[in-house]
């Protein structure tokens, strides 16, 4: 029975991306390209970092193996945390969200068997995660270390051992995490604030990582970062970062027998504990879900003043987004934190530009950044129709013009897009990167491009919506339109922003007067053309398109 259930898990996973669903080829290619690019960049950075780090001397003594072990411990710890987070997410999904639970509970199958099959599937997923993270890391560090047979074999074995360790931690903390999530579920505003704060903090860390990488590649001064205090902290961390330090030492052939024994014992205990805890939880949560009741609040029935149909529809969009944490994050948090990201990149970009081409093209760079980041945040509009789920069809039975339905969606998306562009321009003006005229230009062109992308994405989604049939209708999988819009939006942003940047630098290099003005006018013209075309595309044949929508029979 265990094998049958495991096979079911694999089949369902393959169906999600295979024949049973509309193929998202663009999304698959994008994911592969991004993963490959991320691995390539990480390996390059790591090789450079390892080159510098192994030269650090402690008390005047160089010890390459010790430095590599420390570096390895640090990176393994980061991967370990990622693995635990992924494990918690997957286990909680299986425990609390997966729709097959109700069916499986009625079948003559032990609950433990069901969950062992699910946990095995999660374990196999984690092996894949560690294979694409651990192996490139060890391959990069091999350039500084002396590779041995043990190094290679333990690197491979670690990919199977690591998931057992992470799943144990995940199984212990998954229930408290779920409790917090459930407590926050109806606290929409708190969730939004927490998500925004966490995102901003991540961007802040990202800024430091970017600064670090810039130092690493431009000046090589980074070795001075590893002073006595920092090295002491690193060594202390390495000493206590159990069990990842044992794994790093095993790979580096330090006390191999002892470390192998510790790791093996930990893996066995961890695996058994993990499987045991989760199997018990599975039974308990099944009952928990079945007996959950909802608290009923008192409410005064006071109607709001009458609104226009479009205003009513915008309000509907707002509640849908505000009360779905993943949408709220995409819509509000990302847009709120976008200006922060632009500011950080502007900080680094202006310096690099001055060093590389000796020209101050801050306004063009700002435009380039606003368009590029805007392209990513505006992909929210690529599910403008799919988000409604099957309830979209009840709008068809209401006396509402298709133009009103779509206008409400576009206006709702545009509001936050324009606001984030406005805040970005204001931040760059306030911090002295741009003067008022330049900030206004960035706002106007950025808004026009943002609107174009939203209009295009909305119509694309209307042409091929992917409605979720679940009760809450939430779009959980990225749709083909999302992938396409990311690619097109990113290219349009890069090309338009890049074109103005290039023109400004090139014309100024040629000594042509008003070079910046010509570049800006070109950017404005491109944005105006794109906005016109996308608006025509949005509304062309809209009535007919909406009339023809037929619950999957088109």
């Amino acid at each position: 029975m265990y094998g049958v259930l495991l096979k079911k898990q694999f089949r369902e996973k393959l169906l999600l991306t295979g024949k049973g669903r509309r193929r998202d080829i663009a999304g698959a290619i994008l994911s592969l390209v991004l993963t490959a690019a991320l691995i390539a960049v990480s390996v390059t950075v790591l090789i450079r970092l390892a080159e510098i780090y192994v030269t650090v001397r402690i008390d005047g003594v160089s010890d390459v193996d010790a430095r590599i072990t420390e570096l390895m411990t640090l990176i393994y710890a980061a991967i370990f945390v990622l693995g635990v987070a992924g494990g918690v997410k997957d286990i909680n999904y299986e425990l609390f969200e997966r729709e097959d639970r109700a069916i499986l509970q009625t079948l003559p199958v032990k609950a433990t068997t069901v969950f062992y099959s699910k946990l095995t599937f999660i374990y196999i997923k984690q092996i894949f995660l560690f294979t694409v993270t651990l192996l490139p890391v060890n391959a990069a560090l091999m350039t500084a270390a002396e590779p041995t047979v043990l190094y290679v074999s333990t690197s491979i074995a670690a990919c199977a051992v690591f998931p057992a360790l992470t799943l144990m931690i995940s199984s212990v903390i998954c229930l408290p995490v779920f409790a917090v999530k459930r407590a926050l579920k109806s606290k929409y505003l708190i969730t939004l604030i927490v998500a925004t704060a966490v995102t901003a903090a991540l961007f802040f860390c990202y800024k430091y990582v970017l600064d670090f990488i810039r130092e690493l590649f431009t000046t090589g001064e980074i070795r001075f970062f590893f002073n006595e205090k920092v090295m002491n902290d690193i060594m202390t961390f390495k000493k206590y970062a159990y069990p990842v330090n044992c794994l790093a030492e095993l790979v580096m052939n330090v006390d191999p027998a002892l470390n192998a024994a510790i790791i093996a014992l930990t893996a066995v205990i961890a695996g058994a504990t993990g499987f045991g805890i989760v199997a018990v939880l599975y039974n308990r949560t099944a009952l928990l879900r079945a007996t959950q009741t909802k608290r009923v609040r008192r409410s005064s029935m006071r109607f709001s003043p009458a609104r226009s149909v479009v205003a009513g529809l915008i309000k509907k969009e707002f509640f849908l987004v505000y009360r779905t944490p993943s949408y709220a994050f995409q819509y509000f948090s990302v847009a709120i934190t976008m200006p922060l990201m632009i500011y950080f990149c502007m900080n680094i970009g202006t310096d690099l530009l001055k060093q590389l081409v000796m020209i101050d093209a801050s306004a063009e760079l700002a435009l380039f950044l606003v368009l590029t980041f805007g392209a990513l945040t505006n992909t929210f509009a690529a599910t403008n129709v799919s988000r409604d789920g099957s309830s979209f069809y009840i709008l068809k039975a209401m006396p509402v013009r298709p133009r009103a339905i779509i206008t409400a969606k576009v206006l709702f998306s545009s509001f936050v897009a324009l606001l984030s562009v406005l805040v970005s321009a204001a931040v760059l003006f306030a911090t002295g990167f741009l003067d008022l005229g330049e900030a206004a230009k960035v706002f106007v062109i950025g808004s026009m491009m943002g609107f174009s992308q939203i209009a295009f994405a909305t119509r694309k989604d209307l042409n091929r919506p992917e409605f979720n049939s679940d009760d809450d209708s939430e779009v959980r999988e990225s749709t083909g339109t999302v992938s396409l819009i990311i690619i097109i939006g990113f290219l349009a942003g890069v090309l338009t922003g890049g074109l103005t940047l290039f023109l400004s630098v090139w014309l100024e290099g040629k000594g042509i007067a008003f070079s910046s003005l010509y570049a800006d006018l070109t950017g404005f013209a491109v944005a105006a053309v794109l906005m016109t075309l996308s608006t025509i595309y949005l509304f062309r044949g809209l009535d007919s398109r909406l009339y023809q929508m037929s619950e999957g029979d088109e």
Binding site: M301, F319, I394, E554
Partner: protein, 256 residues
């Protein structure tokens, strides 16, 4: 097809006219789900659309309400074509789907507000209408909760309340009794009867013959996507006997 109002003001009695309505599903082997459906519903009538599972009741209702495109034929509501004048036609009716499709992220109150905005219910009218509906449906304080937390019955109630806020001339319901307990079924049945008495028209689908016999003034029996028989009041009145008789002898019946 002209977009002019076909019937002067609907006062002639016919609020709904369906002529040779057909729907072909392309992806399901290009078969007709319904074929040549024709019937009329007059003001004050309660029309039951009866048929077994898969007979084509839901498809018929979805075509009438414009939720899915019509392959052939025409639907007029209040004299307006659902194809060429959809907004005007739709402003005459409201539809309660069988799966109680509703915007689940709104609270009940917000949903009612939304329906009032869409159907342009004057502000002053909203509260009295809500109070009248609340008296019948008894949603209580739950109206302030987010709909995603509602039970099946509560969701059914909020859908019905939302659909009635603009007091539609034609109230269309798909399997309204499904999943309701007998007491609530009885309340809904009473409400349907009372609503029609005020001069409105109710069209609902069901496969519950007893409820149909109790409340319908006209029964349209659908079988295999075609109308098998249209029974008028006198046929239904006999304690539902003839209705049951026809039901068990389904199949295209030649006109008497």
């Amino acid at each position: 097809m002209t977009s002019e109002k076909r019937i002067a003001d609907g006062s002639a009695g016919e609020l709904l006219e369906i002529r040779d309505l057909s729907k072909k599903y392309v992806k399901r082997g290009a078969v007709y789900a319904i074929k040549n459906i024709s019937f009329k519903a007059e003001r004050g009538e309660v029309v039951g659309l009866l048929g077994a599972n898969g007979a084509g009741k839901t498809t018929t209702l979805k075509c009438i309400t414009g939720m899915i495109p019509i392959t052939e034929g025409e639907v007029f509501v209040g004299g307006y074509s659902i194809k060429s004048d959809p907004v005007k036609a739709k402003s005459h009716f409201s539809f309660v789907t069988d799966n109680h499709s509703v915007f689940v992220k709104m609270t009940g109150k917000q949903y009612l507000d939304f329906m009032c905005d869409v159907y342009r219910v004057p502000y002053a009218e909203r509260k009295p209408r809500y109070e009248r509906l609340e008296e019948r449906f008894r949603l209580g304080a739950a109206v302030g909760d987010v709909i995603s937390g509602y039970s099946h019955g509560m969701r059914q109630k909020i859908c019905m309340m939302g659909s009635l806020m603009h007091e539609p001339e034609l109230w269309i319901l798909d399997e309204p009794m499904l999943g309701l307990d007998p007491a609530t079924q009885s309340k809904v049945t009473d409400f349907i009867r009372d609503y029609a008495k005020k001069g409105n028209t109710v069209l609902f689908s069901t496969h519950n013959l007893y409820i149909a016999a109790e409340v319908c003034s006209k029964a349209v029996i659908v079988s295999g996507g075609r109308i098998s028989r249209i029974l008028e009041q006198r046929d239904i009145d006999l304690g539902g006997r003839r209705l049951i008789e026809y039901w068990y002898n389904l199949g295209p019946v030649s006109e008497e």
